[in-house]
């Protein structure tokens, strides 16, 4: 399992990268591993508001559909349209397969460091 140290994580298995006031969000390697082969991704639209702690996207695997919870509140600036055509990109590299870029961030969920998130996953 891979836990890049430059990222922050949530207990709902999203990762977050903050650069110049823009938050890039995706799901963790642990999440893609638990879900198995992903077949479909639903993303919000550019301009949508996302709310910290609430679902903003969903991912579908052969087993199940799971909500993706936003770690931040803000406005969607960009979405990764490549995922809409090929959800397998998330299985290949969960940290390259970002979901959305969020700007005007006003609120954040409690975030974990890579070490904290790794320790949390070992207890599950």
């Amino acid at each position: 399992m891979n836990y890049p140290s430059e990222l922050k994580y949530t207990r709902d298995d999203e990762w977050l990268l903050e650069e110049d006031g823009v938050a890039t969000v995706g799901i963790s390697d642990y999440a893609q591993h638990e879900l198995g082969d992903l077949v479909f991704v639903n993303l919000p639209e550019v301009g949508d508001e996302v709310v910290a702690g609430e679902a903003f996207a969903d991912v579908e695997s052969v087993k199940a559909v799971a909500d993706v919870i936003s770690p931040v509140s803000g406005e969607v600036l960009e979405i990764n349209e490549d995922l809409l055509d090929d959800a397998a990109l998330i299985n290949e590299d969960a940290y390259a397969a970002w979901f959305v870029k969020v700007g005007n961030v006003t609120d954040k969920e409690e975030l974990l460091s890579a070490d904290e998130y790794e320790a949390y996953n070992e207890t599950r």
């Binding site: 082969d37 077949v39 479909f40 579908e60 052969v62 087993k63 199940a64 559909v65 959800a87 397998a88």
Partner: protein, 472 residues
């Protein structure tokens, strides 16, 4: 196997129509410009084609079908016989009321029977299927709040063990879904419920027994709390089979309910015919009922504040004939006896399997139980999917897999009341033999099935690159 379109040979029709002696009245613009792509095949070849397809499928007629939460019981043949009576099949919904007294009596009789089973005061047969019934139930709740000028209530509470249709129906009805946690017994976590109840609560949707096969022991407190917060309680009738004739949803605090006639009341599932998801309601919700409402004396009128039509006319009538036949065949003693046998069968299987396959919640279950294969998956690298595939080689339809989501590597087993002890024993033996194989030759389990018309399918490819229609 070839598709019927691939068997088609131009000119090899089976019908010879006489020249049309009726003048064409459709305007030219309405007429299609090219000939429809219909397979051209002889009657004999067509019969063989569909028989071959039937041989490759598995239904309750072929063997055990313990698909959890789907209640795949045997449907008595007398249901079909009654529904094929010409007095029923040749009716038209626009016939004068005086010529359909028998059908009206049947609808009224079925409504009364379902009211008696559920404790509700009225039932609408308009919903055409289960999720449509959920949507209807939510429109009752919405109409109720709006009629009181209570426009702030926009949240529907749904437990994390719910069927996926619950949040979907709530969204369709314009509500926001609020998910609450289950406790360590698999039941509604009261504290989580309390934390989410408030002036925005429109209602709670609950399946009881729930999807892990347990009757919520706090049900009276749960419905009381929702009512105290000003919300209504919606009973998802998906698992009504476990309690029909034993516990009435109205008596445990529910205001509105849908029933799946195809699960509980032995009408055909899926492709076997149209669905029916009647929605029962308490008297205070009657003014909002959809469609036409029966009145004493056999007349049908609209409810004063009706929220409209959910479908045309009265719903899928012939399905109602089958359900009513079933209820009358079983009678007042048979209905609860069927429920109790469903519970007995599930507990028998659970007891005979739980030493090998851990049960998600180790307690007396209702009509179904959930095995948790998480440890087996971790230690032996055999997943719930692999065990499901292995069961195919025993001629058993796999249980529901990976549901409910709160149990990892779940196999959800619902034997139903119509299986014999011998069939249950055979299935138990199959499960136990598969367990032996997991321990001795796990790779063999992962290579199952070996005896089915098609072997293991590439489910990922099927989901990612589905081919949904024949390309001409």
């Amino acid at each position: 196997m070839k598709l019927i379109f691939e068997k088609s040979i131009p000119g090899r029709g089976q019908q010879i129509f006489p020249a049309c002696d009726v003048p064409e009245v459709l305007p030219k613009v309405e007429l299609r410009k090219s000939v429809a792509h219909l397979p051209e095949i002889s009657e004999n070849e067509m019969g063989r084609h569909y028989t071959a397809l039937a041989k490759r499928a598995h239904g309750v007629n072929d063997g055990f079908y313990p698909l959890g939460s789907c209640t795949m019981k045997h449907n008595p043949r007398i249901n079909e016989k009654m529904a094929s009576l010409p007095g029923f099949t040749k009716l038209h919904p626009l016939q004068p009321a005086c010529s359909v007294k028998g059908a009206n009596e049947l609808i009224t009789g079925l409504e009364k029977a379902l009211c008696e089973i559920t404790g509700m005061d009225g039932v609408t047969f308009q919903p055409a299927a289960g999720a449509h019934g959920e949507f209807t139930g939510l429109l009752f709740i919405k109409s109720y709040h709006e009629s009181r000028g209570d426009h702030e209530r926009n949240e529907i509470i749904v437990p994390d063990s719910a069927h996926g249709t619950n949040p979907a129906s709530a969204t369709m009805a314009g509500y926001k879904t609020v998910e609450i946690k289950s406790n360590d017994k698999g039941m509604v976590d009261i504290e989580s419920l309390k934390a989410h109840l408030g002036p925005k609560t429109a209602g709670l949707m609950l399946t009881n027994p729930n999807t892990v096969g347990l009757f919520d022991e706090n049900i009276m407190e749960i419905t009381k709390l929702v009512h105290e917060a000003g919300g209504l309680c919606y009973y998802d009738g998906a698992n009504l089979n476990a309690v029909m004739g034993v516990v009435r949803p109205a008596d445990i605090g529910f205001d509105v309910i849908h029933m799946n006639l195809h699960k509980t009341f032995s009408t055909p599932h899926g492709g076997g015919g149209p669905g029916s998801g009647p929605c029962g309601y308490k008297a205070f919700l009657a003014p909002f009922a959809p469609g036409l409402v029966s009145r004493d004396g056999g007349e049908y009128t609209r409810a004063e504040k009706s929220f409209g039509n959910m479908t045309g006319f009265y719903g899928n009538f012939l399905v109602m004939v089958k359900a009513y036949t079933y209820i009358l065949t079983l009678g007042k003693e048979g209905i609860p006896a069927a429920a109790k046998n469903a519970v007995l069968n599930a507990n028998y299987m659970q007891e005979k399997l739980k030493d090998l396959y851990p049960v998600a919640y180790d307690t007396t279950c209702m009509h179904e139980f959930v095995l948790c294969l998480e440890e087996i998956h971790k230690n032996d690298k055999v997943s719930a999917l692999d065990v499901a595939k292995a069961l195919l080689d025993y001629g058993i339809h796999p249980p529901t897999m990976y549901f409910p989501l709160i149990v990892h590597e779940a196999l959800m087993i619902e034997p139903t009341e119509t299986e014999t002890k011998e069939t249950l024993d055979e299935a138990i033996t199959a499960f136990r033999e598969i367990y032996e194989q997991i321990k001795n030759a796990p790779e063999a389990v992962c290579a199952c099935p070996q005896t089915t018309p098609v072997l293991r399918l590439d489910e990922v490819k099927a989901a990612r690159e589905p081919v949904l229609k024949y390309q001409f």
